[in-house]
Symmetry: C6
Subunit: 260 residues, 6 copies
Amino acid sequence: DFMGALDEVHAAFGSSEEELDACITNGIIHFSPEIDRILEEGRLRVEQVKKSERTPLVSVLLHGPPGAGKTALAATIAMQSEFPFIKLISPETMVGMGELQKVNAINRVFQDSYKSPLSVIVMDDIERLLDYTPIGSRFSNVVLQAIAVLLKKQPPKGKRLLVLSTTTRRHVLEEMDLLDSFSSQLYVENLRKLEEVNTVVKRLELFKMDGERHTAMATLAKSGLEGQLTIGIKKLLMTIEKARQSEDPITGFVSDMNNL
Amino acid sequence: DFMGALDEVHAAFGSSEEELDACITNGIIHFSPEIDRILEEGRLRVEQVKKSERTPLVSVLLHGPPGAGKTALAATIAMQSEFPFIKLISPETMVGMGELQKVNAINRVFQDSYKSPLSVIVMDDIERLLDYTPIGSRFSNVVLQAIAVLLKKQPPKGKRLLVLSTTTRRHVLEEMDLLDSFSSQLYVENLRKLEEVNTVVKRLELFKMDGERHTAMATLAKSGLEGQLTIGIKKLLMTIEKARQSEDPITGFVSDMNNL
Amino acid sequence: DFMGALDEVHAAFGSSEEELDACITNGIIHFSPEIDRILEEGRLRVEQVKKSERTPLVSVLLHGPPGAGKTALAATIAMQSEFPFIKLISPETMVGMGELQKVNAINRVFQDSYKSPLSVIVMDDIERLLDYTPIGSRFSNVVLQAIAVLLKKQPPKGKRLLVLSTTTRRHVLEEMDLLDSFSSQLYVENLRKLEEVNTVVKRLELFKMDGERHTAMATLAKSGLEGQLTIGIKKLLMTIEKARQSEDPITGFVSDMNNL
Amino acid sequence: DFMGALDEVHAAFGSSEEELDACITNGIIHFSPEIDRILEEGRLRVEQVKKSERTPLVSVLLHGPPGAGKTALAATIAMQSEFPFIKLISPETMVGMGELQKVNAINRVFQDSYKSPLSVIVMDDIERLLDYTPIGSRFSNVVLQAIAVLLKKQPPKGKRLLVLSTTTRRHVLEEMDLLDSFSSQLYVENLRKLEEVNTVVKRLELFKMDGERHTAMATLAKSGLEGQLTIGIKKLLMTIEKARQSEDPITGFVSDMNNL
Amino acid sequence: DFMGALDEVHAAFGSSEEELDACITNGIIHFSPEIDRILEEGRLRVEQVKKSERTPLVSVLLHGPPGAGKTALAATIAMQSEFPFIKLISPETMVGMGELQKVNAINRVFQDSYKSPLSVIVMDDIERLLDYTPIGSRFSNVVLQAIAVLLKKQPPKGKRLLVLSTTTRRHVLEEMDLLDSFSSQLYVENLRKLEEVNTVVKRLELFKMDGERHTAMATLAKSGLEGQLTIGIKKLLMTIEKARQSEDPITGFVSDMNNL
Amino acid sequence: DFMGALDEVHAAFGSSEEELDACITNGIIHFSPEIDRILEEGRLRVEQVKKSERTPLVSVLLHGPPGAGKTALAATIAMQSEFPFIKLISPETMVGMGELQKVNAINRVFQDSYKSPLSVIVMDDIERLLDYTPIGSRFSNVVLQAIAVLLKKQPPKGKRLLVLSTTTRRHVLEEMDLLDSFSSQLYVENLRKLEEVNTVVKRLELFKMDGERHTAMATLAKSGLEGQLTIGIKKLLMTIEKARQSEDPITGFVSDMNNL
Ligand SMILES: Nc1ncnc2c1ncn2[C@@H]1O[C@H](COP(=O)(O)OP(=O)(O)OP(=O)(O)O)[C@@H](O)[C@H]1O
Ligand SMILES: Nc1ncnc2c1ncn2[C@@H]1O[C@H](COP(=O)(O)OP(=O)(O)OP(=O)(O)O)[C@@H](O)[C@H]1O
Ligand SMILES: Nc1ncnc2c1ncn2[C@@H]1O[C@H](COP(=O)(O)OP(=O)(O)OP(=O)(O)O)[C@@H](O)[C@H]1O
Ligand SMILES: Nc1ncnc2c1ncn2[C@@H]1O[C@H](COP(=O)(O)OP(=O)(O)OP(=O)(O)O)[C@@H](O)[C@H]1O
Ligand SMILES: Nc1ncnc2c1ncn2[C@@H]1O[C@H](COP(=O)(O)OP(=O)(O)OP(=O)(O)O)[C@@H](O)[C@H]1O
Ligand SMILES: Nc1ncnc2c1ncn2[C@@H]1O[C@H](COP(=O)(O)OP(=O)(O)OP(=O)(O)O)[C@@H](O)[C@H]1O
Ligand SMILES: [Mg+2]
Ligand SMILES: [Mg+2]
Ligand SMILES: [Mg+2]
Ligand SMILES: [Mg+2]
Ligand SMILES: [Mg+2]
Ligand SMILES: [Mg+2]
């Protein structure tokens, strides 16, 4: 039975649930309809992998600016699939690894996934896995080639695999001919409206009273922020928490938002 | 006798038939006369290798856009030759190999082929074997040199060899002076006509009723797709399967085809 | 209790207090209000790390011209945090190390910090850790990637970390996409006013009598230095000490200040 | 005596006669006076090495387009010398060798030659020995330097050596300063006249009747091929053999010749 | 006591006095007031290191054209310091060393110096230590980084260090950001006046009689050398010694001086 | 005594006399006064090294076009010195050596020379020692640095050294900053006058009768060769020897001279 299979797969290869959980420490705040659309798209891909016999391999690239919430969203989709094999490939566990060690680590996760009837792999921060740096466009071609091949390699008969990958460097992946390897792409945006900021501030209870929040948001509106605002949820969180520690949170928050 | 030789060769070097089979999971759909022309050209090359004493080595390059069906067609020609030695050289089995390991793996297949009276080698995705990346035009010169030499090296007396290779990067191989090494080239095209798409959709039974299919195709025609359409069979398959999972397959399919 | 935890952490990982002390041999002279602003900003970051649950990782980049006092200020902020884990990552201890050894050394400090409830890491002279040289923009990409990942890696649950880094090459770090990884930046300026110089000269008692100092400063003012002066505290210290050894300190000092 | 010396040299170092023979599988067809001129020039060099005391080392570079017959001609000259030491240095035996292995293999042949009173070395496809690729002008400088030195190194007293080398990349060797190292150069041309093609077609008996051949050649003449034709003997052989397998050899041959 | 300390330091680390002596084989000829100024500056630096508590590390760069006498002057200053630890770091002892060996050798001298209360290190020909070559601006970044760090690293408490370095490539060091690391710079000039040449010729007694010398110098003056003369003391020495061997020293010397 | 010292040095380090002899197989033909001037300059350098105490190290660079006779002239000067230590450093003995092996081989010769009271080192074909190639200006910086240092390194007290080096690439050495390291340079020219050619032809007795030679030279004169002739002695030798083998030496020689 499925639950048995799930347990077996878990026993054999472990799971990344705890690590993926840690990617969503501050939860998912539904500050815009986009968030729901992305999660729904993810859910549909999960279903497609489960059901179609002709597409045993589907891969999705979540791309967008730094701190937009890409990793948290990919982790959320992966966790909600409830597939028996859920694994995170992250540069954080590969500090100091050589190129071949990295390739082996990545390859092992894919090989393990081929043993589970249904698998999700979250491949986080793909440009960091590639050791990419814009100065001189340096990167590990060895890792790139491995990822390019693995993203095209069909799982063995009867196995299915969903790959969710994140990047801030969609354009670089395009130059590397890597985009063709993905079945589809999802754009994760920054917050661009004061109303979205308001939702987050409210939810995180930065101010003890609604009046304070209204004052803060009104001040921001007056300073003409609307229309030129662009901030990732991650930076917004940092800004709110910094303001929280200051003696005058309204001034602190407004000033920092104006100095982004 | 020939069947005995075939068995011996099989016994000694194994065969790639299962792997090649897996390259054709979704079969060959004859959506255009081009498909038949390519398969016929392949059959003729097979005959030439069998019969001419003066050309014991013939090599064919199948090139075309990503997902056009190059690998499936090369695999089909190879399987239909019924030569005793049929082998696939694929980057998928070489993830994480160093340059020299790759050269050794490729070289070994050629050396083994020299022991069979008649051999086919499918050398898939040649740019990936070369670890080619467009950024800075990086690639493994070691592998390139080995392939260049092997494509020119006559098999020993009395042995014959057909090499079928695939690539999406014909232009790069030209810059590398590798094109001269092939006896001939075959271009594998994308689908460009709605009628071809119709054939595939019908064959895969995306819609339960012909009326639905007609509606979908008519809508695509109306949106002016004819004339600017270009889609590989691989992507078309993915699009059809995605539409199949959606609640409204007509809308889903039409919308995705319009957003290629 | 906290003091017990502190002792344990000390016992397990040692501390860099002596090394950090050596970075402030000539103390902190409050020659301008900027110095106080920087130290206050540092203090606030320390508080933030201590208190906010949502931001367990805060990182600050102190940047400015050579010899402006960056290292001394970072060391001062770190020492004043009184966190149980205070460590210095400095190129001075890594002379002759290979790339991987450096990564391991840096990584180890971060890993150790993850075991203390509250940690400060001073990562000094980041461009030197990267072996950066402007000729051909050479640097260790291996070290860069490690630092980029470590600056984004959340400490495990319940642990908090403040990273203070220094550089004279903010622009290069920007080209390397490393600036996004810092929570905030602090600019450490050169001395630009004669009054600031006067404060330092007085404090260091270069002249035995105030009259001498007034003469010296007046001469400098007359030679039009105000407005075009820019000197780091480190170079000013060297100039003062050199003048102190000369037979005519006033002439020596004035002449050197005019020949910067 | 000489025959004894010849046997001794053979016994000690083996010979490449079989390999060289394999370079001339399809014989030498005298389709143009140039072929005879080249073979005569070769014969004269052989004599010069045999007789002049002042020039114990003579080296000749055969260059020309791909498939023009360079290797077959060099092999023929070498075989006709009847020197006791005749060796082939070919990239085909060096697949997968590292730079130093290649240098050692090449060097060993030269060292061995120094032990025979009269030696010929055929150094085939010099750009492939150098692992040359036009993209980024990559090549093995280690092998280049070794060849440059060996081409200038006098054999020991009383020993004589003729080096015959081939290349399609004379211009590259010039850029490498390697041309100065050769005593002389011989240009091997493509076929450029229909009459030359006729000679080859006749000799290979593509058509059973002379009338067929005349028809084919007349058709080619009518289509204006004369004057713009340029084809290597190797490609012409492949074209003839392909036509031979087709049901209508005349049409097949004419069509392929028009589509070069 | 100091003499005891000196002996101990000598015993433990040896000294470079003999090597430094060999840098001054032809002595120091005081052909211009500049020579005295440089030696006096050197003496003052020595005093500064001895006395100021705030500047335990002082570094001086002697730069100028090839053969101007940089090494001899640095060696002279070092020898006159009479510090207990006097060491020469010279590329001459590092022929064939790898980058890491060099770094270790250089680092060891600095580490040793940290054990003496007062030390001088002469770091000769810094561009050669860096394996610098103008073609492609190649150099050992590993050695550069080590030197950059060591030039900034304070000796431990109570220890003092003077570093005297020489180079003909000040501009390159500037591009490498290495100049900021030196406390000060001293320019060592070529000889540019005939009177200076006269002083050297007289001192070296090239001519047996003053009249001869006057004749030679007058001839040089007449040929318009004054104003366009520029020659390093090293080359002048070579020219004088060559003239000394010739049968007609006046003509020989004048002719060589005119053909510089 | 000197002869004893000479024998000892020979016994300890061997000598390159045989190898140097092999560089002059075809003797020195005095076809122009330049040849005598070069040999006389060489003799004077030998004397200078023997006598001047102030210049224990003298180095001369012989440069000129390929085949001009540089190596033969350097070998001749070295042999005529009759110094106890005479050694040849030649790329011919270093085929296949790595960079460090080369440096060690070169360094060992210099170290050995430091043990002889008087030494000559012939360092042949310096660009080949450096593995120099014009494509991409590649060369071994490791060997370059070693040579640069060794050319400046004074022999120990009481030892004297003359270095004679040859190159066809003076301009490249200049770009490498290597020219400053030589005490002086000697230019070895091609033959440029028919009279010089005549001297060589006569000396080598290409023609049995003077009349034949006069005819040949007159024909060359008539074809306007004078004024545009430029040929190295090495190539002239090859041309003469080739003509000698032909049935009609006059025509053969004249034709080859006109087709240079
Ligand atoms: N709607 C949301 N979408 C994504 N993350 C959210 C959302 N609401 C709150 N968060 C929180 O915001 C943070 C997003 O950080 P995350 O690491 O996912 O960003 P990122 O785009 O991957 O950043 P980076 O570019 O640095 O990799 C997480 O802590 C997450 O819990
Ligand atoms: N006429 C056809 N030609 C080729 N493939 C077809 C055809 N009809 C159906 N297919 C199916 O389409 C798919 C073609 O994929 P294939 O891997 O061969 O494409 P490709 O051009 O090699 O892709 P890539 O550029 O990614 O290597 C296979 O699953 C194959 O079964
Ligand atoms: N207000 C001040 N701020 C910083 N340093 C000060 C101040 N007053 C005095 N100092 C002294 O000045 C010196 C500053 O040197 P420091 O090494 O910190 O400069 P830096 O900017 O890090 O230099 P570098 O660019 O070379 O790394 C220290 O010796 C310190 O004790
Ligand atoms: N006149 C001829 N000259 C040379 N080869 C001939 C001639 N006539 C027939 N041949 C045949 O043509 C073929 C020439 O191929 P060969 O390998 O020598 O060409 P190549 O110029 O060396 O090719 P590549 O540029 O690929 O190295 C051989 O099979 C040879 O037997
Ligand atoms: N006033 C002087 N200054 C320096 N050297 C002098 C002076 N007078 C005589 N000499 C002699 O001149 C020579 C100077 O050579 P030195 O090696 O110091 O020059 P350098 O500038 O270091 O050369 P390079 O650029 O090649 O390193 C020494 O032999 C030294 O004894
Ligand atoms: N006057 C002469 N000068 C030099 N060599 C001469 C002279 N006369 C005859 N020869 C002969 O000419 C040949 C010169 O060859 P050599 O190898 O010295 O030239 P090279 O300039 O070193 O050549 P390369 O540039 O290839 O190194 C030798 O065989 C030598 O015996
Ligand atoms: Mg992320
Ligand atoms: Mg394919
Ligand atoms: Mg600092
Ligand atoms: Mg060939
Ligand atoms: Mg010097
Ligand atoms: Mg030579």
